[in-house]
């Protein structure tokens, strides 16, 4: 009796869980990047494979529990046909093949985003993450970034990066903004700096995520394909304001981006 109840519960749990996955009520937001499609593809492949494994395992479990309770009927026990060998061979072959397939494709997707270098003509933007905000630095008309001096960082005067415009000509026209504005269909190369503790850069629409590590400058590149406004959020615990640490990614047309840069430097 209790076995049949268990079998029914497992079956219901399996069906409901899968139904909600399939209905996509909670799902990834639309992809707005060039390389995100590879990740989405990898995700669907994995989703289908694991769904089959999940449903099969749970249902077989339910069926066996339903079918083989002890009814005091002195029935003889049966051993699974073939014993353990087919399971070992099956698991190694099936899971092994799946691992090979996923790794073969997946590592290319991974490499395209995180290993291969950015387009040499990328728009370079420096990102400074701090408790609990992001700041973005554009090189300004001279195309050069000024040097960073952590000892000069001063929140009250708005020197979030520690620039030294008095002595450093390259730093004078650097543009610092609290929003990440990028032109559409243009490769962007971010260089991630952390001011205090570890943070992260996560934009679900871009399908990318990267930690900021104090002491390291970490490159991250992407190309946005649609005019959108997305949220950049922190996924690495950084202190009490972690939940509230965010900025906006604004993907603009080329002309709007130029206008935006002008507006920023005018301030």
């Amino acid at each position: 009796m209790v076995g049949k109840l268990f079998a029914v519960i497992v079956t219901i749990i399996t069906i409901v869980s899968m139904a909600i996955f399939v209905s996509r009520i909670w799902w990834l937001p639309p992809d707005v990047s060039v390389l995100g499609a590879g990740i989405d593809h990898q995700m669907s492949e994995t989703m289908i494979t694991t769904a089959i494994l999940f449903v099969a395992a749970q249902l077989v479990l339910a069926v066996f529990v339903w079918k083989y309770p002890d009814n005091n009927d002195n029935r003889k026990i049966k051993i699974f046909p073939g014993g353990a060998t087919p399971m070992v061979v099956g698991a190694i072959l099936l899971v092994g093949a799946e691992i090979l397939a996923l790794t073969f494709v997946g590592s290319k997707v991974w490499a395209s985003i995180y290993v291969s270098p950015a387009d040499p003509h990328s728009l370079k933007i420096d990102v400074q993450a701090e408790q609990f905000a992001y700041y973005f630095r554009y090189p300004g008309p001279d195309g050069k970034f000024g040097q960073l001096h952590p000892d000069l960082i001063d929140e009250s005067s708005g020197n979030f990066f520690g620039l030294d415009p008095a002595n450093d000509t390259a730093a004078r026209d650097d543009i610092v903004a609290a929003t990440l504005a990028v032109p559409v269909n243009t490769p962007v190369l971010l260089e991630l700096h952390a001011k205090d503790v570890s943070h992260a850069f996560y934009v679900p629409e871009l399908r990318i995520q990267q930690d900021f590590v104090p002491g390291l400058v970490i490159p991250l590149h992407f190309t946005a394909t649609r005019l959108t406004r997305s949220e950049i959020v922190c996924t690495q615990l950084c202190g009490l304001g972690h939940y509230n640490m965010r900025a906006y990614l604004e993907v603009m047309s080329d002309s709007a981006f130029k206008q935006w840069l002008n507006d920023q430097s005018g301030q």
């Binding site: 937001p29 083989y68 995180y114 408790q131 009250s156 570890s198 202190g239 009490l240």
Partner: protein, 589 residues
């Protein structure tokens, strides 16, 4: 180093020696279980507070304001939320999932299962428990320090955990106590693991060959080897972190950090070094939590299905393979950490390969059910529940093992759902299975089966309602470790969070049935016979509870493996390990 049980006798013991600083492995095992019961209750209450806050952030939680100054008026502040989360994770991982299935049951059962009178080093054993106890007290003390409890998570990533007060509340004494507590805990676990290994190698009774050891003993033995290596690495990591915090060194703190407008007086350290050391421990720790569950389930399944476990040697080989592989995969926690992206693929492959022994084990358990004559008592149900949630949690690991998908899912609730299923709930089900199974042996009384089945059914439904939705949240990009969802795209997830909270309260309430059953049975349950489950291993040849030296002055001699169930053509359908009758003919198929 004294020889086991030689210089302490059952009689002439004072109260302290008998109940508090006891050298008897059975008392120590129960002490571990009692400690983890306190810890799991604490951890569960912390999780309710978190869940309540996530669902209704502006509602006051009655009584909380009076207990915690950080939650004035019963409203949890963001920093207090993170403290609750940190303490929940630390308490659960260290003082429940390591303590109960490994140290607790292992201590009580392992020596009996191999026919020994006690552990190899009873004094070390006692020290191991009391050192664990001190570690727990030190951790709990962190709740009551002026700057507040630590908030950098159970992973305590540097530099947040290393730079001290400047980085915000909870980073003063609270964090220091956290590091000290975990360091002390490492010492306790090293003593414990050393004891388990020496006991298993040297104190097996006559005839108890390695091949005849019960699966649970195998699992504890393998776990103790994993623990020995893992905690040997965490201890140095804690020492380095402590020195960074209190002695001004810079192992994990790089140059040029500006915190609260102050340039930090540290230079040259590597935050990733902490992550590598931590996860070199941290991933094997997952298997320290789950492998005893493997052993307990594999030990109970034959007794409740009345047939031998399918592929006993394969199962042991799988556990050994998992133990080896667990040391090659730590980098999968660090795909997004800024380590060399090439190494992501290198860590991904063994992570995926580790699913093979895990999948084989699962198939063996399910295959064992085929053609069985299942006695569906509570212990059996928790074993079946273990298999179900282990499958659910294991399968979501397939996503996270791939760096390309982790790129999206890392740091989201998908991860929370995954590890709670596979490490939290599966291990807890292993603990419950072990408790319902061995309770008669440990306390000499039977638990109520009716209450046990209610407890199982409600808990089983409850955990799926809590943790399955977390996978949906993760797919929607809902980030973990947030005390509120003010980010626009996450606001849509709040109804689901409320559902999870209700499910968590419901599941928590279901545990009251368990507590009631536990306490009632401990004192008023019907007396337990020697072998209530008709099981084969050595713990069932002695009285319930066993005498001080386990076998009343006898030394059992073993002739059989633990897996001989479903034997046809005789009175009972099983052969005790100590039975001197010859090997049975091949079981009818």
């Amino acid at each position: 180093m004294t020889s086991p049980a030689s210089n302490h006798s059952a009689h002439s013991q004072g109260f302290w020696r008998k109940y508090v600083f006891s050298l008897d492995h059975k008392v120590i095992g129960r002490q571990y279980l009692d400690l983890s019961l306190v810890a799991v209750t604490t951890g569960m209450i912390l999780s309710w507070l978190m869940r309540l806050h996530l669902a209704w952030p502006t509602r006051s939680i009655p009584g909380l304001g009076a207990v915690a100054s950080e939650a004035a008026g019963g409203i949890i502040t963001p920093e207090y939320y993170l403290s609750l989360m940190t303490m929940h994770g630390t308490i659960m991982v260290f003082f429940v999932l390591t303590t109960a299935p490994f140290a607790g049951f292992g201590n009580f059962i392992l020596p009996i299962q191999i026919g020994a009178e006690d552990m190899a080093f009873p004094r070390f054993n006692m020290m191991s428990f009391w050192v664990t106890f001190v570690a727990f007290i030190v951790l709990i003390a962190a709740f009551f320090v002026p700057e507040g409890p630590p908030l950098s998570g159970w992973t305590a990533y540097a530099p947040l955990s290393a730079v001290g007060k400047d980085s915000g509340p909870g980073q003063g004494w609270g964090q220091t106590l956290w590091v000290i507590s975990i360091g002390i805990f490492c010492i306790a676990q090293l003593l414990g693991s050393l004891n388990f290994i020496a006991t298993t190698l040297d104190l097996r009774t006559k005839g108890m060959t390695l091949a005849r050891m019960p699966f649970s003993t195998w699992a504890w033995f393998i776990t103790s080897v994993i623990g020995l290596i893992a905690f040997s690495v965490l201890l140095p990591a804690c020492v380095l972190l402590l020195l960074d915090r209190v002695a001004g060194t810079s192992f994990f703190i790089p140059a040029g950090l500006v915190i609260s407008d102050k340039l930090q007086p540290h230079a040259g350290g590597s935050p990733l070094l902490w992550q590598h050391l931590f996860w070199f421990f941290g991933h094997p720790e997952v298997y320290i939590a789950i492998l005893p569950g493997f052993g307990i389930v594999s030990h109970i399944l034959p007794a409740v299905t009345r047939k031998p476990l399918l592929g006993p040697r394969v199962l042991i080989a799988c556990m050994i393979a998992i133990a080896f592989l667990s040391y090659t995969v730590w980098g999968h926690h660090m795909f997004m950490s800024g380590m060399n992206p090439f190494s992501a693929t290198v860590f991904s492959v063994p992570t995926l390969i580790i699913t093979i022994p895990a999948a084989i084990s699962t198939l063996l358990w399910i295959g064992t059910l085929y053609g069985a004559r299942m006695r569906l008592n509570t212990a059996a149900l928790f074993c079946l529940g273990f298999v179900s949630v282990f499958v659910s949690g294991g399968i979501s690991g397939f996503f996270l093992a791939q760096p390309a998908i982790d790129s999206y899912l890392h740091g989201t609730y998908f991860v929370v759902g995954h590890f709670h299923f596979v490490m939290g709930v599966a291990s807890m089900f292993g603990i419950f299975a072990g408790l319902y199974f061995w309770f008669p042996k440990m306390f000499g009384r039977m638990m109520s089966e009716t209450l046990g089945k209610w407890h199982f059914m409600l808990t089983f439904i409850g955990v799926y309602c809590i943790f399955m939705p977390m996978h949906y949240l993760g797919l929607a990009g809902n980030v973990r470790r947030y005390s509120a969802f003010t980010v626009d795209y996450m606001k849509g997830s709040i109804p689901l969070h409320r559902f999870i909270t209700v499910a968590a309260l419901f599941t928590g309430a279901a545990q009251l049935i368990f507590f009631y059953n536990l306490f009632r049975s401990r004192f008023w349950g019907p007396p337990a016979p020697e072998n209530p489950w008709e099981a084969t291993s050595l713990e069932w040849i002695t009285s319930s509870p066993p005498p001080h030296d386990n076998f009343g002055g006898q030394h059992p001699v073993v002739y059989h493996g633990p897996n001989e169930y479903g034997v046809a053509g005789r009175d009972g359908d099983y052969i005790m390990q100590t039975s001197s009758e010859p090997e049975p003919a091949k079981v009818a198929s």
